[in-house]
């Protein structure tokens, strides 16, 4: 009988570059060693992959690059545990493993013609990054683009190098905020939910995509609902501990769903139907 591939085995990959984005977040640009595997590795905004630091372990990370740009498979990783700290030790040329892509994706086609509001807190910008770049690259297909990005301090804003590029695009606004400023910071010092109220985006033909710490999502959701956004207009990616990515190990089970297979992208309409609220 035909041997099926082992879905637990990653592709061998090499780190092409490591860039410091913030004091604890690095951007890893990788490429699969096998050219056929690399060109076949197609993914959409919202999907994730497992990155292996061989000998230490494997962990899931959202794919932060936009696949159509063909500029490498990128992960923005914050050092917070054993695997992420091990990855932070690696340099250009190091061998890693990549398994994926897994999960569902943001339905970008459904978002065409709509006004998109991106709300990202801290490392929550990582899964939103490919959404923004997909919109920027096909700017005319989408309505207004409002990008709200918050972080603890100015240094913790993740994709600083791209703010100007985004802001220059037509009908696009980039609104930044921090919890604590520094001597050079001339911008807003406020929490994201308050910024949402301040900017007062209209729910008319709009989709709001939120990603960040649970507490930020919780309060931002309340403010968006106050502004008239319906549950199916608000989208997020769920963070749950994931191990297999295949819906088999049971760790990311919530209700009859597995975050790794049925998510991680869910609308709040779907989340409100979950019998268990995480």
């Amino acid at each position: 009988m035909e041997q099926k591939p082992n879905p637990f085995m990653p592709h061998m990959a090499t780190i092409k570059s490591v860039t410091d984005l913030t004091p604890d977040v690095k951007l890893f640009n990788t490429e699969l060693d096998d050219p056929a595997a690399q060109s076949g590795f197609n993914y959409q905004p919202g999907q994730f992959a497992f990155l292996s630091a061989y000998g230490i372990g494997e962990a899931p990370f959202c794919l932060t690059s936009a696949a159509h740009r063909k500029s490498g498979i990128e992960f923005a990783i914050r050092a917070v545990g054993t695997v992420t700290n091990a990855l932070h030790e690696l340099e250009e040329g190091a061998k890693v493993g990549i398994r994926g892509p897994f999960g569902n994706s943001f339905p970008m086609d459904e978002y065409k013609g709509k006004n998109i509001i991106i709300i990202g807190g801290g490392i929550g910008m990582a899964p939103l990054h490919p959404v923004i770049n997909t919109i920027i690259d096909c700017r005319d297909d989408y309505g207004n683009l409002l990008i709200m990005n918050g972080a603890r301090t100015p240094q913790d804003l993740v994709f600083k190098d791209e703010f100007d590029v985004w802001a220059k695009a037509p009908n696009t606004k980039v609104e930044l905020t921090v919890d604590r400023g520094d001597d050079d910071w001339k911008g807003r010092v406020a929490l994201i939910p308050d910024v949402v109220v301040d900017l007062n985006p209209s729910p008319e033909k709009a989709i709001a995509i939120i990603c960040g710490p649970p507490i930020m999502i919780h309060f931002t959701l309340i403010k968006l609902k106050d502004l008239g956004f319906a549950n199916d207009q608000i989208v997020t990616t769920l963070e749950g501990k994931m191990k297999c990515g295949l819906g088999k190990c049971g760790r990311c089970n919530v209700g009859e769903k597995y975050i790794c297979v049925d998510g991680p992208v869910f609308t709040f309409e779907q989340i409100s139907q979950f019998i268990e609220q995480f």
């Binding site: 009988m1 085995m9 000998g55 501990k241 297999c244 295949l246 088999k248 009859e256 019998i275």
Partner: protein, 334 residues
């Protein structure tokens, strides 16, 4: 008219099978009946109720390598795991066989689990009818029966001096190809489980009592060990970790349980199910609501091992009987 094999002929046949196959059969170890690979047919125990651990460990082992990573001369190679040898599991009860069919829904669903599917393909199941179910058995309420042959390849039922042989699948037929079975009119009595439960309304009733204090109250005595998940023929949660040695790293998977306190704890400390009640609730909701919603069947075959082995008598039969009464009320807040 049925087909029959005598006890001596059975021993002879099993002995022959061991020449190029691994034969896994029930044996006694320290007063307990367990499935083990055997060297000699004399080791097999034929007169037992059920094994302590289910047959699932021979398809989904407690620990197994997923692949190995060899570091040599600066290069890194990944080597898959191949299952070479054919196996026979002898003496599997209908509840465990039904359990394997349910595990298939998880492990063989897209994408199929490479190693599990090899083990399933290369293993033939010889079942043994239950003629005397144990006090904890309730398979008859959970979609199978003490003599159900649907989920095995060959079914044996003990009668006077030997066994009635039922060939169920082509795989079973192939295993019996060299065996001369005689005809027999010997009869046997179908057994019934001591407990009968009404399970049809349970999933729907579960939807109405998620916030009920009941789960916290039951979890008071739960010690949150992994026994229920590990003895269960259908529980399938696992952990994955890299195990380096000096020459290579094995990425292994091993059994895990949603009951253990750190199960949902992520790096950074966020734990979605920190309380005893939420973890105990997850177990029963997964078995009695989520799994049927996703796969169509309750995730329980009524083998009763959890009932027997739980140190504090958390009894799924009691839960199944209590839930419809909870669902009927409006459900108090936890």
């Amino acid at each position: 008219m049925s087909k029959f094999i005598s006890k001596d002929e059975l021993a002879f046949w099993l002995d022959g099978l061991m020449k190029d196959r691994q034969l896994i059969a029930p044996v006694i170890v320290d007063d307990q009946t367990v499935f083990k690979p055997i060297m000699n047919v004399d080791e097999i125990v034929f007169d037992y109720k059920n094994t302590v651990l289910s047959a699932k460990e021979w398809f989904f082992p407690t620990t197994e390598p997923l692949f190995t990573i060899c570091h040599k001369d600066g290069s890194t190679d990944l080597a898959p795991i191949d299952i070479e040898k054919e196996s026979v599991v002898f003496g599997i009860r209908p509840c465990d066989a039904a359990g394997l069919k349910l595990l298939d829904k998880v492990f063989l669903g897209e994408p199929p689990d490479f190693i599990y599917s090899q083990r399933r393909d290369k293993t033939t199941l010889i079942g043994l009818t239950c003629l005397e179910p144990a006090p904890q058995c309730f398979c008859g309420s959970m979609g199978t029966t003490p003599n159900n042959a649907d989920d095995v390849d060959i079914m044996l039922t003990e009668v006077e001096d030997g066994y009635i042989v039922s060939t169920v699948t082509e795989k079973g037929k192939a295993l019996l190809s060299d065996v001369k079975l005689s005809d027999s009119e010997k009869s046997w009595q179908e057994a019934k489980c001591p407990t009968e439960l009404q399970v049809k309304e349970v999933p729907e009733a579960m939807k109405n009592c998620f916030e009920d204090n009941y789960w916290t109250r039951v979890s008071d005595r739960c010690i949150h060990c992994n026994i229920c998940a590990y003895v269960c023929p259908v529980c399938h949660c696992f952990d994955i970790r890299d195990c380096p040695t000096s020459e290579e790293t094995e990425r292994i998977r091993c059994w895990d349980s949603c009951q253990s306190p750190g199960f949902t704890r992520a790096a950074g400390g966020h734990t979605p199910r920190p309380t005893k009640g939420s973890r105990l609730r997850q177990r029963f909701y997964h078995k009695l609501l989520y799994f049927p919603e996703r796969f169509g069947d309750l995730q329980c075959t009524g083998c009763g091992r959890c009932v027997l082995s739980c140190p504090v008598n958390i009894d799924i039969r009691e839960i199944i009987m209590d839930v419809p009464k909870l669902g009927a009320e409006s459900g108090a807040k936890a």
